[in-house]
Amino acid sequence: MTAEAGDIRAIKARRGRIESAWRVLKTAPFSAWLGMIIIAIYVFCAVFAPWIAPYGEAEIVGNAYQPSSAEFWLGTDQIGRDIFSRLIYGARNTIGIALITTLLSFAIGGTLGVFAAIHRGGWLDQILSRLVDALMSIPTLIFALMLLAVFGKYIAALILILALLDSTRVFRLARATAINVVVMDYVEAARLRGEGLGWITMKEIVPNIMPPLVAEFGLRFCFVFLTISSLSFLGVGIQPPTADWGSMVAENKSLITYGNPTPLYPAAAIALLTVAVNFVVDWFLHRTSGLRDEH
């Protein structure tokens, strides 16, 4: 076979993948489409925030609590920053932080979970499982509060601590899913072949536990900013003047009781994204579980 032929084949394979992805997308129900479109808009806002936002993230552009107007679409906040601009920057910070946190928690929890599944019943599995049990039985918020007091209220510390606490759930899921995969004949076949642990893990197990993990990823991702929001409420979340939706709700929470809509915008932003992610995840799970709906 010539190199050229190889290339063509690769292109063909790639095109095939894109095509099949498109075919799959076409079957997506309305709710999944809605979810994907919303997520796309959010991601767009996050990436291009400085170009979209009419004002700066922490720029004081007017008086406090101006109502919405042509100049300030959603009005201004307690010290005269444009809420619309902060919402857009908030997308960047919120999604960015949540994404890093979730990725980290999946890296930690996923790796250890698969490892524990392979060595099911072994001492490592026992130790990890006990430790995870212990961590899960400590109230997350309060524990996070303590750890933040120990390590300081830096965004890096926040991300690390949330990722660690979140990874316990990922660990459980990864372990449970991987246990079902580890007993499959193709894993046994690889072991009989004499394959090493690393190869079996990466090539045989990981690709097959991805669907539930990806679904969980979407959900945990949404919960990260709810947790951050609760931490902000308790005074240890993301520190001002960084715009992050959770903190924005917490900062302006007292306005709710005056019927002022300011805290509604970031809350709605969170809720909309969560619902969107859930729509997509539901569809994804539905697809991968092979469950059919009645027509």
Partner: protein, 323 residues
């Protein structure tokens, strides 16, 4: 040995081990916290002498390991120790005395929320499964999703705005004390309970729906349909009994949340529960209280999970009646 007994014993053993790990984790975290009880309580006005006097009195001048061993020794004899807050006076404040009324309040609220949320979630879940993909299903799904997608305190404040300030149906303050009557306690705790209901209902409802729908592809469900069993009975009588395990697990998880995760709601409604107490104790470095709270939380979590396991066994004839 019957599998239930075996499982219970095994889980209890593991639970004790977990409690032990929790106590070590919490103790280490507290040791790492900057500042001590004296500094926390005296704030800016701490002088080295008063701090030293405090530390001597509560025994903080001794090595951490000695304190831990003594503390755990006390626990094994059922003595949770005395709060540092009693230091300075000649009246000791036993941790158990401090915690007991708070614990009662926490359980009161948790049970109240559970009594509303669990039956509601299960009913909605079953109905959503029964009429899946209908308008009802979609609306219930979206509404419950939205409630969990909003920060807890946001939900709490919105409820407070409408029900306490605008309509004046409920109290905005949920301060209760030992002298509060049962009925007043209920009306005081109404808004927090509703908030918590909204927070946990989605998870349970969605799991009920998913667990049932998951089973609808089972051959015995098709069999039941082919036996001419009405749809409602198929769901309730054939699918639901087999869906208990995952549902109960999620319910247990959420009930645990009602006990251990409500600090935000407690703060918003000024409800004197144990979560706030633990947060206070953390910030004042009142080690014995923090430790006791953590152990109570962990024990609740473990016991609820254990109950879930037991219910899973009871509802599964394969495990209840082994061959």
């Amino acid at each position: 040995m019957h599998p239930i007994v075996r499982t219970v014993l095994q889980r209890l053993g593991l639970g004790l081990l977990t409690l032990f790990i929790v106590s070590i984790v919490i103790f280490s975290a507290l040791e790492m916290l900057p500042g001590g009880f004296a500094e926390a309580i005296l704030g800016q006005s701490a002088t080295p002498e008063t701090v030293a006097a405090f530390n001597k009195e509560i025994g903080l001048d001794r090595p951490a390991i000695v304190r831990y061993v003594e503390w755990i020794g006390g626990i094994l004899q059922g003595d949770f120790g005395t709060s540092y807050a009693g230091a300075g006076g000649n009246i000791k404040r036993h941790v158990s005395d401090l915690i007991a009324p708070r614990l009662y309040n926490t359980f009161f609220l948790a049970i109240m929320a559970a009594v509303i949320a669990v039956p509601l979630a299960l009913t909605l879940g079953v109905l959503a499964a029964l009429y899946r993909n209908s308008l009802f299903d979609r609306i219930v799904n979206s509404v419950t999703l939205t409630t969990i997608a909003l920060p807890e305190f946001f939900v709490a404040y919105v409820l407070m705005f409408f029900f306490a300030i605008k309509l004046r149906w409920f109290y905005s303050l949920s301060t209760v004390s030992e002298s509060t009557t049962f009925l007043e306690h209920i009306s005081r705790a109404a808004l927090p309970a509703i908030t918590l209901t909204l927070v946990i209902i989605a998870h349970m409802m969605r799991m009920t729906r998913a667990a049932i729908i998951n089973l609808l592809a089972s051959p015995y469900i098709e069999m039941a349909q082919l036996k001419g069993i009405p749809r409602r009975r198929v769901i309730v009588h054939h699918a639901l009994p087999n869906a208990w395990a995952p549902i109960v697990t999620v319910v247990a998880f959420n009930l645990a949340y009602l006990v251990v995760g409500v600090v935000v709601v407690e703060v918003v409604f000024v409800y004197p529960g144990i979560g706030q107490m633990m947060v206070d104790a953390v910030s004042s470095r009142d080690m014995p209280v923090v430790q006791a709270c953590a152990l109570i939380f962990a024990a609740t979590y473990i016991l609820l999970n254990l109950s879930a396991d037991i219910i899973s066994i009871i509802t599964n004839p394969r495990l209840l009646h082994p061959r």
